[in-house]
Amino acid sequence: METAATRSKKPNAKPAKLGRDVQARLGQQLRAMYDDVVNQGVPDRFSELINRLESDEKKDGQ
């Protein structure tokens, strides 16, 4: 079965130079996707982890 993955496998052709407009739009998409995760902030799991480690250290230090 042909899939997007197999269809896209071409030998390494010399890359054509992308127009600035295309690069800009790809960049926007990439950042939008990335920022979608960034905007979720710090999940409790990680703030709790860091706070817990910090209190362990305080105990160790005393």
């Binding site: 295309v22 739009r25 990439l30 960034v38």
Partner: protein, 183 residues
């Protein structure tokens, strides 16, 4: 171990959202990515004495995450998936893992890039690192990063069937790309 400096704690916490976004782009899976971030934080905090104050905390954490991913996760992934193609296929069947379906097509295309190119593109194009910082994180030459980023952009445009900005359509960019590129 020395008590953690408040400014260090803040800098680590501030880097977490971007670390997660980077990890998700590497792993292609939110749960695995969060485990990777957790392991990265534990390693970083255990070795916090080797962080040089005044240098970029975010770049330091990205380096740890990237190296850990390289050594552990890729090994594990190879056991169940033998190519980036399978990786991409597995993404298609689990769009909900990303929370937002709208980036699914773009993520699928990104997942088909060779991992060297993908990480270079994310670091420079999304995480906001300079070419020099990205080279430091990946342990390679600046020119290598530049070339990987260029190849990644070209490949991405091919995969999304984009030849000009018009192909993106005015609004729902990825959907328009697929509509114009779909066979």
């Amino acid at each position: 171990m020395m008590p953690m400096d408040e400014s260090v704690r803040k800098a680590v916490l501030a880097a977490v959202p971007s670390l997660r976004a980077f990890a998700i782009s590497l792993c292609g899976n939110v749960d695995r990515a969060d485990d990777l971030v957790q392991e990265t934080l534990l390693r970083a905090l255990a070795n916090i004495d080797s962080f040089q104050p005044g240098t970029n905390m975010s770049a330091w954490l990205f380096t740890i995450l990237r190296n850990h991913f390289r050594s552990e996760y890729r090994k594990r992934r190879r056991e169940v998936e033998d190519s980036d193609g399978h990786h991409a296929e597995s993404l298609k069947s689990q769009p909900d893992q990303y929370g937002h379906v709208e980036f699914r097509e773009f993520r699928e295309a990104l997942a088909q890039l060779p991992s060297d190119q993908r990480e270079a593109l994310i670091l420079v194009g999304a995480s906001g690192f300079s070419y020099e910082e990205a080279a430091g994180i990946c342990g390679c030459a600046v020119g290598t990063i530049k070339s990987r980023v260029n190849r990644a952009r070209t490949r991405l445009a091919e995969l999304l069937h984009v030849n000009s900005a018009e192909d993106f359509g005015p609004d729902e960019t990825t959907r328009a790309v697929l509509a114009s590129g779909g066979e």
